[in-house]
Amino acid sequence: MMSEIFTVTFITGLIAATLRMSTPIILATLGEIITERSGVLNLGIEGTMVFGAALGFLTTLATGNLWLGVFVAALGGIVLSLLMAVLAVYMGLSQHVSGLGITIFASGLAMFIYRLVVGSPIVPPVITPFTPVAIPLLFRIPILGGSFFTQYSLTYITWALIPLVSIFLFKTRAGLRVRTIGQNPFAADTVGVNVNLTRTLCLAAGGAFFGVAGAFLTLAHQNMFLIDVIGGRGWIAIAMTIFGNWNPVMGAVGALMFGFLDAFQLRMQTLGVDLPFHIFLMIPYLITILALISVSRKATVPAGLLRPYRREEKG
């Protein structure tokens, strides 16, 4: 068995699968980090991803255009996040309740729209998914070429977004405002920054990320929509946000770790080890919990997280 693990094909495949499987989680984690940095926990993430997966799939099914599918998925994510903004930012309702409500609503809505369009055929319809794009020259590098540089376009974009989100948060005017609002909305308000509008924009940006993350699963990773297509990846992104201490790079590292464990357990299943496959399915989640326990003690939560902001109408 050991010899099987260390073949070049195995390692190349494992690395490639790790990058592939971590893509939606990295995207969702980046979206959640932007949102939470502004002080809003968006638990609508899981449902928004399901919604994005369904919209993206159906758009492509109807038009045959994959990028249009991605675009519509992003729009769908934005719409749901604006709903979250109305509830949790402008009405000041509990972020937990609003977010969970949106997840339940959006998951149901996704299935509803899917059924409206395709009905319930015995064999679910499929699309022609994205194919990996080999980057010229680089893909020839042994091992690395076949793994790092033969990926989906969405994966490359996701990797580019990690430094971009970092630069946005730490090097731009808007980023400073977002971070300040997440820590002390009152401080931002007293210097003339519009707290609720900024939070809404952050939610919208996060929603677009969630939508695309969901669409990746139906347009690249698989070629069909199933209701459990997201399979808790949204919740994992929430965990990775904490694991990464609200830092995009660290969050991506966490997402990568989960992607690796997920890819690894799939391979272990096929190696024919005599254990129920459920055990392998559990591994990534179990290790994520253990990692969270060790890291989250030191986490510095944005001080304004979970607190709706309104000017006190009292002396």
Partner: protein, 507 residues
């Protein structure tokens, strides 16, 4: 003085400003003028409407009536941004700083300029302002590492960075040590000289006399007086503010000391940042005396009280109550020894804001007979207990079933006093018992402390208000960086020496 007012154009003029909240009028047709190079004191008790009036001026609240003129022109503000654009800055009592960000980031927010942050340019501008006005703050220091005084300077820098000409300061000295206050006043003098105007909110009469040119007194939302400082006296201002004559001095009476009731031996503990907060502290408190623990806040007083209250376990050292060693960090054994505990933060640790008055009153006695018997509580006993508490401490409330959060600050403190003092404890530990209270409520709390002493209890009074320490204490110790800088009896104590001790100077 009169001449100046006649010839100069007011930088701010508020005419008949009215602000209503749901059922109360917070400001009722208030007039206020501010002239260039002037410090105006805005004086009043808590709830008199000072902060509300300033929040209206700062654009944080909308105006319900009246008008405001800046430099002679009528303005209407819908958010602080409008006020900032008119050169107004407000330094709130609770700082509007982001603790996890640097000085520079806190200054830049809202004034960043280009899309990408230009830290270098911002730093140059900040250092230029610091040089001009004599500040020495490291732009790269993270805010939580700064002292309260430094954080306040940062707030002033924020205002200057925005080129504000009018500074509203909401009780700026409430958190400062005497030496820091002197520094602040120097800064304010410099600002006024360089063309700024300042509105100084306070209920500290001496400070108003020291720093202000003119004073406006608010009471119940109305402007009740306006006078040049040179034409008034402290007692006059006090009675204008409260609306009645105040007892000028409490009679603290003689101390008849008895047995040692509380002893702390070599206490040592770290704060939640891992820095040693209390560093080998020992003292003895006897029955029938008030021992004042003076010091600038943040020098270990909070941690000391937490150890005494049994909230935090000392890393070293022992605590004895009536000669009996109390296990560290055990709340229940402290309650068993009947220590009356008046915590520093009545809202966070003293009370459950959503529970009713009566429930808050039985927090410590709910497991004891007669309120509780065989694991069941007796509602009738609770009602009579609470009724007795409300009457003997004259708590103003809509009833014992009203949620505690509907009470005013002074009445919140009375609920705590009632709960802690009703069984005539032998030992009272009070931490900042009058912080944020107005003059009337303060007087009540002080009297309650002295009554306890009179009836033979030992009272440990931890306070950063030096007036309070002098008013009540029989003996004074001064804490600085977790150590005791000195001890002196009340008769021999003088303010200058204690002030030096509070700043860490031994002479």
């Amino acid at each position: 003085m009169e001449g100046r007012i006649l010839e100069k154009q007011a930088v701010i003029e508020m005419r008949g400003v009215t602000k209503r909240f749901v059922d109360v009028i917070a400001n009722d047709k208030v007039d206020l003028k501010l002239f260039p190079n002037e410090v105006v004191g805005l004086l009043g008790e808590n709830g008199a409407g000072k902060t509300t009036l300033m929040n209206v001026l700062f654009g944080y609240y909308n105006l319900d009536g009246g008008e405001m003129l800046i430099g002679g022109e009528k303005v209407s503000f819908s958010s602080p941004k409008d006020a900032i654009n008119h050169g107004i800055a407000m330094i709130h009592q609770h700082f509007t700083l982001v603790q996890t960000q640097t000085v520079l980031e806190n200054v830049m927010i809202g004034m960043e300029g280009s899309f990408f942050l230009n830290y270098k340019k911002a730093k140059e501008k900040l250092l230029g302002i610091e040089k001009e006005f004599g500040f020495h703050l490291d732009p790269d220091a993270v805010v939580w590492t700064l002292s309260i005084g430094e954080q306040q300077k940062l707030e002033i820098l924020k205002a200057l960075y925005r080129d504000a000409k009018i500074l509203i300061m909401d009780e700026p000295t409430a958190v400062l040590a005497p030496t820091e206050t002197i520094e602040l006043f120097e800064t304010l003098h410099n600002l006024v000289k360089s063309g700024h105007s300042i509105i100084f909110i306070s209920h500290h009469l001496q400070e108003v006399m020291d720093i202000c040119d003119r004073v406006v007194v608010l009471r119940n939302g109305k402007r009740v007086a306006e006078t040049e400082v040179s034409e008034t006296t402290i007692p006059e201002l006090a009675s204008l503010m409260v609306g009645r004559e105040l007892l000028e001095r409490l009679d603290k009476g003689k101390s008849k000391t008895g047995e040692v009731i509380l002893e702390a031996k070599d206490l040592r503990v770290k704060n939640n940042r891992g820095i040693t907060a209390v560093d080998g502290l020992s003292f003895v408190l006897k029955e029938g005396e008030v021992l004042g623990v003076a010091g600038v806040s943040g020098n270990g007083q909070t941690e000391l009280s937490e150890m005494l209250f049994g909230e935090v376990k000392p890393e070293e050292g022992e605590i004895y109550i009536s000669g009996k060693k109390v296990p560290g960090g055990s709340l229940s054994s402290v309650i068993k020894e009947s220590m009356a505990r008046i915590p520093e933060d009545r809202i966070k640790t003293g009370l459950f804001m959503d529970l009713s008055v009566k429930e808050n009153m039985i927090l410590e006695s709910h497991v004891k007979e007669p309120i509780s018997k065989n694991g069941l509580i007796n509602i009738k006993e609770i009602r009579s207990f609470a009724d007795n508490c409300i009457k003997s401490f004259s708590v103003k409330t809509d009833g014992m079933d009203a949620p505690v959060k509907s009470l005013s600050g002074g009445n919140l403190q009375k609920v705590i006093l009632a709960r802690e003092l009703v069984g005539d404890p032998k030992l009272v530990v009070a931490c900042q018992p009058t912080r944020g209270l107005d003059v009337g409520a303060m007087e009540y709390v002080h009297q309650a402390m002295l009554n306890q002493k009179e009836s033979g209890a030992g009272v440990l009074l931890i306070s950063d208000d030096l007036d309070e320490i002098f008013l009540l204490s029989d003996r004074i110790i001064v804490m600085y960086e977790g150590k005791i800088m000195g001890e002196v009896s009340a008769e021999e104590a003088d303010r200058d020496k204690i002030g030096l001790w509070m700043s860490g100077v031994t002479s």
